[in-house]
Symmetry: C2
Protein backbone atom coordinates (compact mmCIF):
# COMPACT_ATOMS: atom_id res chain seq x y z
CA UNK A 1 0.00 0.00 0.00
CA UNK A 2 1.39 3.33 -1.11
CA UNK A 3 -0.63 6.28 0.05
CA UNK A 4 -0.12 9.29 -2.15
CA UNK A 5 -1.17 12.88 -1.55
CA UNK A 6 -1.08 15.23 -4.51
CA UNK A 7 -1.02 19.02 -4.30
CA UNK A 8 -3.14 19.84 -7.29
CA UNK A 9 -4.23 22.72 -9.49
CA UNK A 10 -6.30 22.24 -12.65
CA UNK A 11 -5.63 20.56 -15.98
CA UNK A 12 -2.00 19.44 -15.43
CA UNK A 13 -2.80 18.01 -12.02
CA UNK A 14 -5.93 16.31 -13.33
CA UNK A 15 -3.92 14.52 -16.01
CA UNK A 16 -1.27 13.48 -13.52
CA UNK A 17 -3.95 12.12 -11.19
CA UNK A 18 -5.59 10.29 -14.08
CA UNK A 19 -2.34 8.37 -14.51
CA UNK A 20 -1.80 7.92 -10.78
CA UNK A 21 -5.16 6.26 -10.08
CA UNK A 22 -4.27 3.69 -12.74
CA UNK A 23 -0.96 2.74 -11.12
CA UNK A 24 -2.00 2.66 -7.45
CA UNK A 25 -5.42 1.81 -6.01
CA UNK A 26 -7.53 4.97 -6.31
CA UNK A 27 -8.56 4.71 -2.66
CA UNK A 28 -4.91 5.30 -1.70
CA UNK A 29 -4.87 8.67 -3.51
CA UNK A 30 -5.83 12.02 -2.01
CA UNK A 31 -5.92 15.09 -4.24
CA UNK A 32 -5.60 18.29 -2.22
CA UNK A 33 -6.97 20.90 -4.56
CA UNK A 34 -6.52 24.63 -5.00
CA UNK A 35 -9.58 26.79 -4.41
CA UNK A 36 -7.89 30.15 -5.00
CA UNK A 37 -9.47 30.09 -8.48
CA UNK A 38 -12.97 29.73 -7.06
CA UNK A 39 -15.42 32.46 -7.91
CA UNK A 40 -18.96 33.59 -7.35
CA UNK A 41 -20.73 33.91 -10.67
CA UNK A 42 -24.31 35.14 -10.80
CA UNK A 43 -24.85 33.82 -7.30
CA UNK A 44 -23.26 30.44 -7.97
CA UNK A 45 -20.12 29.10 -6.36
CA UNK A 46 -17.73 27.82 -9.01
CA UNK A 47 -14.68 25.69 -8.15
CA UNK A 48 -12.84 25.29 -11.45
CA UNK A 49 -9.95 23.15 -10.22
CA UNK A 50 -12.14 20.77 -8.22
CA UNK A 51 -14.36 20.36 -11.26
CA UNK A 52 -11.53 19.84 -13.72
CA UNK A 53 -10.11 17.08 -11.55
CA UNK A 54 -13.49 15.50 -10.84
CA UNK A 55 -14.53 15.57 -14.50
CA UNK A 56 -11.17 14.18 -15.64
CA UNK A 57 -11.12 11.31 -13.18
CA UNK A 58 -14.73 10.36 -13.92
CA UNK A 59 -13.96 10.38 -17.65
CA UNK A 60 -16.49 13.14 -18.31
CA UNK A 61 -14.01 15.84 -19.23
CA UNK A 62 -13.90 17.48 -22.62
CA UNK A 63 -10.65 16.06 -24.06
CA UNK A 64 -10.23 19.02 -26.43
CA UNK A 65 -9.94 21.59 -23.66
CA UNK A 66 -8.96 19.54 -20.63
CA UNK A 67 -11.72 21.26 -18.66
CA UNK A 68 -15.49 21.35 -18.91
CA UNK A 69 -17.67 18.43 -19.95
CA UNK A 70 -17.76 16.32 -23.05
CA UNK A 71 -20.91 16.80 -25.16
CA UNK A 72 -21.50 20.16 -23.53
CA UNK A 73 -23.97 22.71 -24.86
CA UNK A 74 -24.45 26.41 -24.15
CA UNK A 75 -28.14 27.01 -24.33
CA UNK A 76 -28.34 28.91 -21.06
CA UNK A 77 -25.16 30.89 -21.68
CA UNK A 78 -26.27 31.98 -25.16
CA UNK A 79 -29.59 33.12 -23.76
CA UNK A 80 -27.84 34.92 -20.90
CA UNK A 81 -25.72 36.68 -23.48
CA UNK A 82 -28.84 37.78 -25.39
CA UNK A 83 -30.23 39.20 -22.15
CA UNK A 84 -27.08 41.26 -21.66
CA UNK A 85 -25.76 39.11 -18.83
CA UNK A 86 -22.16 38.04 -18.09
CA UNK A 87 -21.02 35.68 -20.82
CA UNK A 88 -17.24 35.81 -20.67
CA UNK A 89 -16.91 32.78 -18.42
CA UNK A 90 -17.83 29.64 -20.36
CA UNK A 91 -20.36 27.64 -18.40
CA UNK A 92 -22.11 24.86 -20.28
CA UNK A 93 -25.56 23.53 -19.54
CA UNK A 94 -24.28 20.32 -17.93
CA UNK A 95 -21.50 22.05 -16.03
CA UNK A 96 -24.08 24.45 -14.64
CA UNK A 97 -25.72 21.55 -12.82
CA UNK A 98 -22.53 21.02 -10.82
CA UNK A 99 -22.47 24.66 -9.76
CA UNK A 100 -26.16 24.62 -8.85
CA UNK A 101 -25.70 21.45 -6.81
CA UNK A 102 -22.70 22.88 -4.99
CA UNK A 103 -24.32 26.24 -4.32
CA UNK A 104 -27.55 24.61 -3.17
CA UNK A 105 -25.66 22.62 -0.57
CA UNK A 106 -23.41 25.49 0.48
CA UNK A 107 -26.56 27.57 1.09
CA UNK A 108 -27.81 24.72 3.27
CA UNK A 109 -24.65 25.03 5.37
CA UNK A 110 -22.68 22.06 4.05
CA UNK A 111 -18.92 22.37 3.60
CA UNK A 112 -17.16 22.36 0.26
CA UNK A 113 -15.26 19.23 1.25
CA UNK A 114 -18.45 17.34 2.18
CA UNK A 115 -20.11 18.43 -1.03
CA UNK A 116 -17.07 17.41 -3.08
CA UNK A 117 -16.98 14.01 -1.37
CA UNK A 118 -20.65 13.40 -2.22
CA UNK A 119 -20.29 14.62 -5.79
CA UNK A 120 -17.26 12.44 -6.47
CA UNK A 121 -18.92 9.44 -4.81
CA UNK A 122 -22.00 9.97 -6.96
CA UNK A 123 -19.70 9.89 -10.00
CA UNK A 124 -18.18 6.63 -8.83
CA UNK A 125 -14.73 7.94 -7.86
CA UNK A 126 -12.83 6.06 -5.17
CA UNK A 127 -10.00 8.49 -4.61
CA UNK A 128 -10.35 11.38 -2.19
CA UNK A 129 -10.68 14.79 -3.80
CA UNK A 130 -10.71 17.57 -1.27
CA UNK A 131 -10.46 21.32 -1.41
CA UNK A 132 -7.36 22.41 0.51
CA UNK A 133 -9.69 24.42 2.74
CA UNK A 134 -13.41 24.83 3.38
CA UNK A 135 -12.78 28.49 4.14
CA UNK A 136 -12.81 31.32 1.69
CA UNK A 137 -9.53 31.66 -0.23
CA UNK A 138 -9.22 33.82 -3.34
CA UNK A 139 -6.21 34.48 -5.48
CA UNK A 140 -5.84 38.15 -6.29
CA UNK A 141 -3.56 39.19 -9.14
CA UNK A 142 -1.79 42.53 -8.85
CA UNK A 143 -1.13 44.01 -12.28
CA UNK A 144 -0.84 47.43 -13.95
CA UNK A 145 -4.61 47.49 -14.17
CA UNK A 146 -4.80 47.13 -10.37
CA UNK A 147 -5.93 44.18 -8.32
CA UNK A 148 -7.77 41.61 -10.42
CA UNK A 149 -9.92 38.76 -9.19
CA UNK A 150 -8.34 35.57 -10.45
CA UNK A 151 -10.86 34.63 -13.14
CA UNK A 152 -11.00 38.22 -14.25
CA UNK A 153 -7.26 38.03 -14.91
CA UNK A 154 -7.27 34.47 -16.20
CA UNK A 155 -10.38 34.20 -18.36
CA UNK A 156 -11.83 37.64 -18.97
CA UNK A 157 -8.47 39.28 -19.68
CA UNK A 158 -6.94 36.06 -21.04
CA UNK A 159 -3.97 36.14 -18.66
CA UNK A 160 -2.51 38.97 -20.72
CA UNK A 161 -1.53 41.27 -17.84
CA UNK A 162 1.99 41.22 -16.49
CA UNK A 163 1.68 39.90 -12.94
CA UNK A 164 3.50 42.07 -10.39
CA UNK A 165 2.52 40.04 -7.38
CA UNK A 166 -0.12 37.72 -6.06
CA UNK A 167 -1.96 37.55 -2.80
CA UNK A 168 -4.35 35.02 -1.39
CA UNK A 169 -7.35 36.63 0.19
CA UNK A 170 -8.45 34.74 3.27
CA UNK A 171 -5.19 32.80 3.61
CA UNK A 172 -4.42 34.32 6.99
CA UNK A 173 -7.44 32.63 8.54
CA UNK A 174 -8.09 29.65 6.22
CA UNK A 175 -7.80 26.28 7.96
CA UNK A 176 -7.07 23.02 6.15
CA UNK A 177 -10.16 20.96 5.26
CA UNK A 178 -10.71 17.87 7.47
CA UNK A 179 -8.61 15.29 5.58
CA UNK A 180 -5.77 17.51 4.48
CA UNK A 181 -3.42 17.29 7.48
CA UNK A 182 -3.94 13.54 7.82
CA UNK A 183 -3.46 12.92 4.13
CA UNK A 184 -0.15 14.79 4.15
CA UNK A 185 1.04 13.26 7.42
CA UNK A 186 0.14 9.68 6.54
CA UNK A 187 1.22 9.77 2.88
CA UNK A 188 4.06 7.56 1.72
CA UNK A 189 4.62 10.06 -1.06
CA UNK A 190 3.54 13.64 -1.63
CA UNK A 191 3.58 14.92 -5.19
CA UNK A 192 3.49 18.56 -6.20
CA UNK A 193 1.64 18.16 -9.48
CA UNK A 194 2.80 19.82 -12.72
CA UNK A 195 0.60 22.84 -12.00
CA UNK A 196 1.33 26.55 -11.99
CA UNK A 197 3.61 27.15 -8.97
CA UNK A 198 2.18 30.64 -8.37
CA UNK A 199 -1.47 30.28 -9.28
CA UNK A 200 -2.14 26.69 -8.21
CA UNK A 201 0.44 25.50 -5.69
CA UNK A 202 1.19 28.70 -3.78
CA UNK A 203 -2.44 29.28 -2.71
CA UNK A 204 -2.51 25.69 -1.41
CA UNK A 205 0.64 26.27 0.58
CA UNK A 206 -0.73 29.53 1.97
CA UNK A 207 -3.39 27.71 4.00
CA UNK A 208 -2.48 27.51 7.66
CA UNK A 209 0.06 24.78 8.34
CA UNK A 210 0.16 23.28 4.86
CA UNK A 211 3.52 24.68 3.82
CA UNK A 212 5.02 23.59 7.15
CA UNK A 213 3.58 20.08 6.83
CA UNK A 214 4.97 19.68 3.34
CA UNK A 215 8.34 21.11 4.32
CA UNK A 216 8.63 18.78 7.31
CA UNK A 217 7.75 15.85 5.01
CA UNK A 218 10.34 16.92 2.46
CA UNK A 219 11.98 13.46 2.38
CA UNK A 220 8.87 12.06 0.70
CA UNK A 221 8.02 14.95 -1.60
CA UNK A 222 8.48 15.06 -5.37
CA UNK A 223 7.71 18.06 -7.53
CA UNK A 224 6.96 17.61 -11.22
CA UNK A 225 8.12 20.50 -13.40
CA UNK A 226 5.28 22.22 -15.28
CA UNK A 227 7.87 23.89 -17.50
CA UNK A 228 9.35 22.08 -20.49
CA UNK A 229 11.96 23.70 -22.68
CA UNK A 230 11.32 27.08 -21.06
CA UNK A 231 7.63 26.96 -21.84
CA UNK A 232 4.53 26.09 -19.87
CA UNK A 233 2.62 23.11 -21.24
CA UNK A 234 -0.54 25.12 -20.61
CA UNK A 235 -1.35 28.53 -19.15
CA UNK A 236 0.70 31.52 -18.07
CA UNK A 237 3.34 29.91 -15.83
CA UNK A 238 6.24 31.00 -18.06
CA UNK A 239 4.98 34.59 -18.28
CA UNK A 240 4.59 34.77 -14.52
CA UNK A 241 8.02 33.28 -13.87
CA UNK A 242 9.39 36.07 -16.03
CA UNK A 243 7.32 38.94 -14.64
CA UNK A 244 8.13 37.91 -11.07
CA UNK A 245 11.85 37.85 -11.89
CA UNK A 246 12.45 34.10 -11.91
CA UNK A 247 14.39 32.10 -14.45
CA UNK A 248 11.95 31.02 -17.15
CA UNK A 249 12.96 27.40 -17.01
CA UNK A 250 12.64 24.22 -15.01
CA UNK A 251 15.54 25.58 -12.97
CA UNK A 252 13.46 28.59 -12.01
CA UNK A 253 10.71 26.24 -10.84
CA UNK A 254 13.16 23.97 -9.03
CA UNK A 255 14.49 26.90 -7.01
CA UNK A 256 10.94 27.65 -5.86
CA UNK A 257 10.37 24.08 -4.71
CA UNK A 258 13.83 23.51 -3.20
CA UNK A 259 12.67 24.03 0.37
CA UNK A 260 9.71 21.65 -0.06
CA UNK A 261 10.76 18.70 -2.20
CA UNK A 262 13.40 16.00 -2.16
CA UNK A 263 12.93 14.94 -5.77
CA UNK A 264 12.45 17.04 -8.88
CA UNK A 265 10.94 15.44 -11.98
CA UNK A 266 12.47 17.06 -15.05
CA UNK A 267 11.38 16.58 -18.64
CA UNK A 268 13.85 14.77 -20.90
CA UNK A 269 13.99 17.86 -23.09
CA UNK A 270 15.55 19.71 -20.15
CA UNK A 271 17.97 16.93 -19.18
CA UNK A 272 20.93 19.29 -19.54
CA UNK A 273 19.60 21.34 -16.60
CA UNK A 274 19.78 18.39 -14.22
CA UNK A 275 23.30 19.01 -12.85
CA UNK A 276 22.64 22.69 -12.21
CA UNK A 277 19.37 21.92 -10.45
CA UNK A 278 20.96 19.23 -8.27
CA UNK A 279 23.87 21.44 -7.36
CA UNK A 280 21.85 24.53 -6.68
CA UNK A 281 18.80 23.06 -4.94
CA UNK A 282 20.08 19.84 -3.42
CA UNK A 283 17.07 17.99 -4.83
CA UNK A 284 17.53 14.68 -6.53
CA UNK A 285 16.62 15.22 -10.18
CA UNK A 286 14.99 12.43 -12.15
CA UNK A 287 14.64 12.88 -15.89
CA UNK A 288 11.70 11.37 -17.78
CA UNK A 289 9.08 12.30 -20.39
CA UNK A 290 6.57 14.54 -18.61
CA UNK A 291 4.27 15.46 -21.49
CA UNK A 292 1.02 13.60 -20.77
CA UNK A 293 -0.12 13.05 -24.32
CA UNK A 294 -2.07 9.86 -23.65
CA UNK A 295 -3.01 7.43 -20.91
CA UNK A 296 0.26 5.51 -21.22
CA UNK A 297 2.26 8.70 -20.82
CA UNK A 298 0.21 9.71 -17.78
CA UNK A 299 0.72 6.31 -16.17
CA UNK A 300 4.44 6.30 -16.91
CA UNK A 301 4.87 9.75 -15.39
CA UNK A 302 2.87 8.80 -12.29
CA UNK A 303 4.71 5.54 -11.69
CA UNK A 304 8.09 7.10 -12.49
CA UNK A 305 7.44 9.92 -10.06
CA UNK A 306 6.31 7.54 -7.32
CA UNK A 307 9.31 5.30 -7.83
CA UNK A 308 11.68 8.27 -7.69
CA UNK A 309 10.31 9.62 -4.45
CA UNK A 310 10.10 6.20 -2.76
CA UNK A 311 13.66 5.35 -3.86
CA UNK A 312 14.96 8.65 -2.54
CA UNK A 313 13.08 8.60 0.76
Amino acid sequence: MTRVAVLAGGVGAARFLDGLVRVVPPSDVTAIVNVGDDMEWAGLHISPDLDTITYTLSDLVNPETGWGLRGESRRTLDRLSELGGPDWFMIGDLDLATHLYRTHRLSAGDTLSDITRDLTARLGLECVITPVTDDRLRTVVCADAGELAFQDYFVRRRASDAVHSLRFDGAESAQPAPFVRDALASADAIVIAPSNPFLSIDPLLSVSGVRELVRSSKHKVAAVSPIIGGQAVKGPAADILQSLGHDVSALGVARIYAELANVFILDQEDASLAPAIETETGMRVVVMPTLMIDVDAKMALASGTLKAVLDAA
Copy 2:
Protein backbone atom coordinates in the same frame (compact mmCIF):
# COMPACT_ATOMS: atom_id res chain seq x y z
CA MET B 1 -54.99 58.49 -22.65
CA THR B 2 -56.12 55.96 -20.07
CA ARG B 3 -53.46 55.05 -17.59
CA VAL B 4 -54.07 51.65 -16.07
CA ALA B 5 -52.38 50.06 -13.07
CA VAL B 6 -52.90 46.35 -12.58
CA LEU B 7 -52.35 44.49 -9.32
CA ALA B 8 -50.98 41.26 -10.69
CA GLY B 9 -50.12 37.72 -9.69
CA GLY B 10 -49.04 35.07 -12.20
CA VAL B 11 -50.81 33.32 -15.07
CA GLY B 12 -54.30 34.91 -14.76
CA ALA B 13 -52.83 38.39 -14.47
CA ALA B 14 -50.44 37.76 -17.35
CA ARG B 15 -53.33 36.80 -19.62
CA PHE B 16 -55.36 39.82 -18.54
CA LEU B 17 -52.38 42.09 -19.22
CA ASP B 18 -51.85 40.46 -22.60
CA GLY B 19 -55.35 41.62 -23.53
CA LEU B 20 -54.94 45.02 -21.92
CA VAL B 21 -51.81 46.03 -23.84
CA ARG B 22 -53.74 45.33 -27.05
CA VAL B 23 -56.60 47.68 -26.16
CA VAL B 24 -54.65 50.61 -24.68
CA PRO B 25 -51.14 51.76 -25.58
CA PRO B 26 -48.74 49.49 -23.66
CA SER B 27 -46.85 52.50 -22.35
CA ASP B 28 -49.99 53.48 -20.42
CA VAL B 29 -49.99 50.19 -18.52
CA THR B 30 -48.19 49.47 -15.25
CA ALA B 31 -48.24 45.96 -13.85
CA ILE B 32 -47.54 45.93 -10.10
CA VAL B 33 -46.45 42.39 -9.48
CA ASN B 34 -46.46 40.07 -6.49
CA VAL B 35 -43.07 38.94 -5.23
CA GLY B 36 -44.35 36.87 -2.30
CA ASP B 37 -43.77 33.80 -4.49
CA ASP B 38 -40.12 34.67 -5.01
CA MET B 39 -37.60 32.14 -3.83
CA GLU B 40 -33.90 31.47 -3.54
CA TRP B 41 -33.05 28.29 -5.38
CA ALA B 42 -29.49 27.01 -5.37
CA GLY B 43 -28.25 30.55 -4.88
CA LEU B 44 -30.43 32.04 -7.60
CA HIS B 45 -33.20 34.57 -7.07
CA ILE B 46 -36.36 33.41 -8.82
CA SER B 47 -39.35 35.72 -9.34
CA PRO B 48 -42.04 33.45 -10.83
CA ASP B 49 -44.78 36.07 -11.22
CA LEU B 50 -42.52 38.70 -12.77
CA ASP B 51 -41.26 36.07 -15.20
CA THR B 52 -44.69 34.73 -16.11
CA ILE B 53 -45.88 38.23 -16.95
CA THR B 54 -42.70 39.18 -18.79
CA TYR B 55 -42.65 35.97 -20.82
CA THR B 56 -46.36 36.26 -21.65
CA LEU B 57 -46.19 39.86 -22.80
CA SER B 58 -43.09 39.25 -24.89
CA ASP B 59 -44.80 36.25 -26.51
CA LEU B 60 -42.16 33.87 -25.25
CA VAL B 61 -44.36 32.00 -22.81
CA ASN B 62 -45.13 28.30 -23.10
CA PRO B 63 -48.80 28.37 -24.13
CA GLU B 64 -49.40 24.87 -22.74
CA THR B 65 -48.56 25.79 -19.16
CA GLY B 66 -49.02 29.56 -19.09
CA TRP B 67 -45.58 29.87 -17.43
CA GLY B 68 -42.05 29.04 -18.49
CA LEU B 69 -40.69 29.46 -21.98
CA ARG B 70 -41.73 28.02 -25.30
CA GLY B 71 -39.24 25.56 -26.77
CA GLU B 72 -37.74 25.00 -23.36
CA SER B 73 -35.34 22.17 -22.55
CA ARG B 74 -34.15 20.71 -19.27
CA ARG B 75 -30.60 19.66 -19.84
CA THR B 76 -29.27 21.31 -16.70
CA LEU B 77 -32.17 20.18 -14.52
CA ASP B 78 -31.88 16.57 -15.64
CA ARG B 79 -28.19 16.60 -14.88
CA LEU B 80 -28.83 18.25 -11.51
CA SER B 81 -31.28 15.47 -10.76
CA GLU B 82 -28.64 12.85 -11.64
CA LEU B 83 -26.26 14.55 -9.22
CA GLY B 84 -28.83 14.29 -6.45
CA GLY B 85 -29.66 18.00 -6.47
CA PRO B 86 -33.04 19.70 -6.03
CA ASP B 87 -35.20 18.89 -9.04
CA TRP B 88 -38.76 19.49 -7.86
CA PHE B 89 -38.92 23.06 -9.16
CA MET B 90 -38.99 23.03 -12.95
CA ILE B 91 -36.35 25.36 -14.33
CA GLY B 92 -35.61 25.06 -18.01
CA ASP B 93 -32.30 25.90 -19.65
CA LEU B 94 -33.58 29.15 -21.18
CA ASP B 95 -35.47 30.18 -18.06
CA LEU B 96 -32.29 29.65 -16.07
CA ALA B 97 -30.66 32.49 -17.99
CA THR B 98 -33.26 34.90 -16.60
CA HIS B 99 -32.50 33.81 -13.05
CA LEU B 100 -28.76 34.04 -13.60
CA TYR B 101 -29.12 37.52 -15.10
CA ARG B 102 -31.30 38.69 -12.22
CA THR B 103 -29.07 37.17 -9.55
CA HIS B 104 -25.93 38.54 -11.17
CA ARG B 105 -27.34 42.05 -11.03
CA LEU B 106 -28.79 41.69 -7.55
CA SER B 107 -25.31 40.60 -6.35
CA ALA B 108 -23.97 43.77 -7.95
CA GLY B 109 -26.39 45.81 -5.82
CA ASP B 110 -29.06 46.61 -8.42
CA THR B 111 -32.71 46.63 -7.39
CA LEU B 112 -35.26 44.11 -8.58
CA SER B 113 -37.28 46.91 -10.18
CA ASP B 114 -34.28 48.24 -12.12
CA ILE B 115 -33.38 44.74 -13.25
CA THR B 116 -36.96 44.04 -14.31
CA ARG B 117 -37.09 47.30 -16.25
CA ASP B 118 -33.91 46.42 -18.14
CA LEU B 119 -35.02 42.85 -18.82
CA THR B 120 -38.40 43.91 -20.15
CA ALA B 121 -36.84 46.68 -22.25
CA ARG B 122 -34.38 44.17 -23.70
CA LEU B 123 -37.37 42.02 -24.67
CA GLY B 124 -39.01 44.98 -26.36
CA LEU B 125 -41.85 45.57 -23.90
CA GLU B 126 -43.23 49.09 -23.61
CA CYS B 127 -45.42 48.65 -20.57
CA VAL B 128 -44.02 49.03 -17.07
CA ILE B 129 -43.63 45.80 -15.14
CA THR B 130 -42.53 46.38 -11.59
CA PRO B 131 -42.25 44.26 -8.49
CA VAL B 132 -44.52 45.70 -5.81
CA THR B 133 -41.42 46.12 -3.66
CA ASP B 134 -37.66 45.88 -3.99
CA ASP B 135 -37.52 44.63 -0.43
CA ARG B 136 -37.72 41.05 0.67
CA LEU B 137 -41.30 39.77 0.88
CA ARG B 138 -42.10 36.07 1.22
CA THR B 139 -45.45 34.37 1.49
CA VAL B 140 -45.47 31.75 4.23
CA VAL B 141 -48.23 29.15 4.28
CA CYS B 142 -49.36 27.85 7.65
CA ALA B 143 -50.67 24.29 7.35
CA ASP B 144 -50.88 21.11 9.43
CA ALA B 145 -47.33 20.35 8.38
CA GLY B 146 -46.19 23.65 9.91
CA GLU B 147 -45.02 26.80 8.19
CA LEU B 148 -44.20 26.19 4.54
CA ALA B 149 -42.26 28.46 2.22
CA PHE B 150 -44.55 29.37 -0.64
CA GLN B 151 -43.01 27.27 -3.41
CA ASP B 152 -42.63 24.40 -1.01
CA TYR B 153 -46.40 24.49 -0.52
CA PHE B 154 -47.25 25.36 -4.11
CA VAL B 155 -44.89 23.27 -6.22
CA ARG B 156 -43.16 20.69 -4.06
CA ARG B 157 -46.32 19.68 -2.16
CA ARG B 158 -48.61 20.51 -5.11
CA ALA B 159 -50.79 22.89 -3.07
CA SER B 160 -52.31 19.86 -1.37
CA ASP B 161 -52.13 21.13 2.23
CA ALA B 162 -55.16 22.77 3.78
CA VAL B 163 -54.13 26.38 4.37
CA HIS B 164 -54.86 27.57 7.92
CA SER B 165 -53.43 31.04 7.48
CA LEU B 166 -50.91 33.02 5.51
CA ARG B 167 -48.33 35.54 6.50
CA PHE B 168 -46.04 37.73 4.47
CA ASP B 169 -42.53 37.72 5.79
CA GLY B 170 -40.96 41.14 5.46
CA ALA B 171 -44.26 42.94 4.90
CA GLU B 172 -43.88 45.03 8.04
CA SER B 173 -40.83 46.79 6.61
CA ALA B 174 -41.26 46.40 2.83
CA GLN B 175 -41.58 49.69 0.96
CA PRO B 176 -43.22 50.07 -2.44
CA ALA B 177 -40.83 50.01 -5.39
CA PRO B 178 -40.17 53.44 -7.00
CA PHE B 179 -43.04 53.57 -9.51
CA VAL B 180 -45.72 51.87 -7.46
CA ARG B 181 -47.19 54.81 -5.54
CA ASP B 182 -47.17 57.05 -8.60
CA ALA B 183 -48.71 54.41 -10.83
CA LEU B 184 -51.55 53.89 -8.39
CA ALA B 185 -52.06 57.59 -7.72
CA SER B 186 -51.97 58.68 -11.35
CA ALA B 187 -53.93 55.76 -12.81
CA ASP B 188 -57.30 56.40 -14.46
CA ALA B 189 -58.17 52.83 -13.62
CA ILE B 190 -56.79 50.27 -11.23
CA VAL B 191 -57.56 46.62 -11.94
CA ILE B 192 -57.21 43.81 -9.44
CA ALA B 193 -56.37 41.03 -11.89
CA PRO B 194 -58.07 37.63 -11.81
CA SER B 195 -55.34 36.26 -9.55
CA ASN B 196 -55.50 34.36 -6.30
CA PRO B 197 -56.77 36.86 -3.68
CA PHE B 198 -54.75 35.26 -0.89
CA LEU B 199 -51.56 34.18 -2.60
CA SER B 200 -51.17 36.92 -5.21
CA ILE B 201 -53.14 40.02 -4.25
CA ASP B 202 -52.87 39.97 -0.47
CA PRO B 203 -49.05 40.03 -0.42
CA LEU B 204 -49.16 43.02 -2.79
CA LEU B 205 -51.56 44.82 -0.47
CA SER B 206 -49.42 44.00 2.55
CA VAL B 207 -46.60 46.28 1.36
CA SER B 208 -46.52 49.56 3.26
CA GLY B 209 -49.17 51.97 2.02
CA VAL B 210 -50.42 49.92 -0.92
CA ARG B 211 -53.70 48.79 0.61
CA GLU B 212 -54.41 52.35 1.76
CA LEU B 213 -53.61 53.76 -1.68
CA VAL B 214 -55.93 51.31 -3.39
CA ARG B 215 -58.66 51.84 -0.83
CA SER B 216 -58.52 55.59 -1.18
CA SER B 217 -58.72 55.17 -4.98
CA LYS B 218 -61.70 52.85 -4.69
CA HIS B 219 -63.81 54.90 -7.14
CA LYS B 220 -61.50 53.85 -9.97
CA VAL B 221 -60.85 50.24 -8.95
CA ALA B 222 -62.27 47.12 -10.61
CA ALA B 223 -61.67 43.58 -9.40
CA VAL B 224 -61.98 40.67 -11.79
CA SER B 225 -63.24 37.46 -10.18
CA PRO B 226 -60.77 34.56 -10.44
CA ILE B 227 -63.60 32.18 -9.46
CA ILE B 228 -66.06 30.92 -12.07
CA GLY B 229 -68.89 28.60 -11.09
CA GLY B 230 -67.36 28.01 -7.69
CA GLN B 231 -64.04 26.93 -9.14
CA ALA B 232 -60.69 28.57 -9.72
CA VAL B 233 -59.68 28.77 -13.36
CA LYS B 234 -56.21 27.73 -12.22
CA GLY B 235 -54.54 26.98 -8.91
CA PRO B 236 -55.74 26.54 -5.36
CA ALA B 237 -57.94 29.66 -4.87
CA ALA B 238 -61.12 27.64 -4.31
CA ASP B 239 -59.47 25.33 -1.79
CA ILE B 240 -58.07 28.27 0.11
CA LEU B 241 -61.39 30.11 0.13
CA GLN B 242 -62.85 27.02 1.73
CA SER B 243 -60.10 26.31 4.24
CA LEU B 244 -60.06 29.92 5.38
CA GLY B 245 -63.84 29.83 5.92
CA HIS B 246 -64.95 31.93 2.96
CA ASP B 247 -67.79 31.19 0.57
CA VAL B 248 -66.30 29.21 -2.32
CA SER B 249 -67.79 31.42 -4.97
CA ALA B 250 -67.42 34.75 -6.69
CA LEU B 251 -69.47 36.13 -3.79
CA GLY B 252 -66.78 34.97 -1.39
CA VAL B 253 -64.19 36.83 -3.46
CA ALA B 254 -66.38 39.91 -3.81
CA ARG B 255 -66.68 40.21 -0.02
CA ILE B 256 -62.89 40.24 0.24
CA TYR B 257 -62.56 43.05 -2.31
CA ALA B 258 -65.56 45.10 -1.12
CA GLU B 259 -63.42 47.60 0.77
CA LEU B 260 -61.07 48.11 -2.18
CA ALA B 261 -63.07 48.10 -5.41
CA ASN B 262 -65.98 49.96 -6.91
CA VAL B 263 -66.64 47.49 -9.70
CA PHE B 264 -66.68 43.70 -9.65
CA ILE B 265 -66.32 41.78 -12.91
CA LEU B 266 -68.34 38.58 -12.68
CA ASP B 267 -68.31 35.73 -15.14
CA GLN B 268 -71.51 35.19 -17.10
CA GLU B 269 -71.78 31.71 -15.61
CA ASP B 270 -72.21 33.36 -12.20
CA ALA B 271 -74.69 36.02 -13.37
CA SER B 272 -77.24 34.86 -10.81
CA LEU B 273 -74.91 35.98 -8.01
CA ALA B 274 -74.88 39.60 -9.23
CA PRO B 275 -77.80 40.89 -7.13
CA ALA B 276 -76.45 39.34 -3.92
CA ILE B 277 -72.97 40.75 -4.55
CA GLU B 278 -74.32 44.25 -5.28
CA THR B 279 -76.54 44.22 -2.21
CA GLU B 280 -73.96 42.82 0.14
CA THR B 281 -70.82 44.61 -1.01
CA GLY B 282 -72.12 47.80 -2.57
CA MET B 283 -69.89 47.19 -5.60
CA ARG B 284 -71.25 47.66 -9.07
CA VAL B 285 -71.27 44.21 -10.67
CA VAL B 286 -70.65 43.87 -14.38
CA VAL B 287 -71.25 40.47 -15.96
CA MET B 288 -69.18 39.30 -18.93
CA PRO B 289 -67.23 36.27 -20.15
CA THR B 290 -64.02 36.15 -18.09
CA LEU B 291 -62.44 32.95 -19.38
CA MET B 292 -59.42 34.09 -21.40
CA ILE B 293 -59.36 31.28 -23.94
CA ASP B 294 -57.80 33.28 -26.76
CA VAL B 295 -56.54 36.73 -27.66
CA ASP B 296 -60.01 37.99 -28.53
CA ALA B 297 -61.36 36.86 -25.16
CA LYS B 298 -58.43 38.55 -23.37
CA MET B 299 -59.01 41.80 -25.26
CA ALA B 300 -62.76 41.72 -24.64
CA LEU B 301 -62.24 41.17 -20.90
CA ALA B 302 -59.67 43.97 -20.69
CA SER B 303 -61.75 46.51 -22.61
CA GLY B 304 -64.96 45.47 -20.81
CA THR B 305 -63.26 45.86 -17.44
CA LEU B 306 -61.82 49.26 -18.36
CA LYS B 307 -65.15 50.51 -19.67
CA ALA B 308 -66.93 49.33 -16.52
CA VAL B 309 -64.56 51.09 -14.15
CA LEU B 310 -64.45 54.31 -16.18
CA ASP B 311 -68.26 54.36 -16.49
CA ALA B 312 -68.66 53.86 -12.76
CA ALA B 313 -66.01 56.35 -11.69
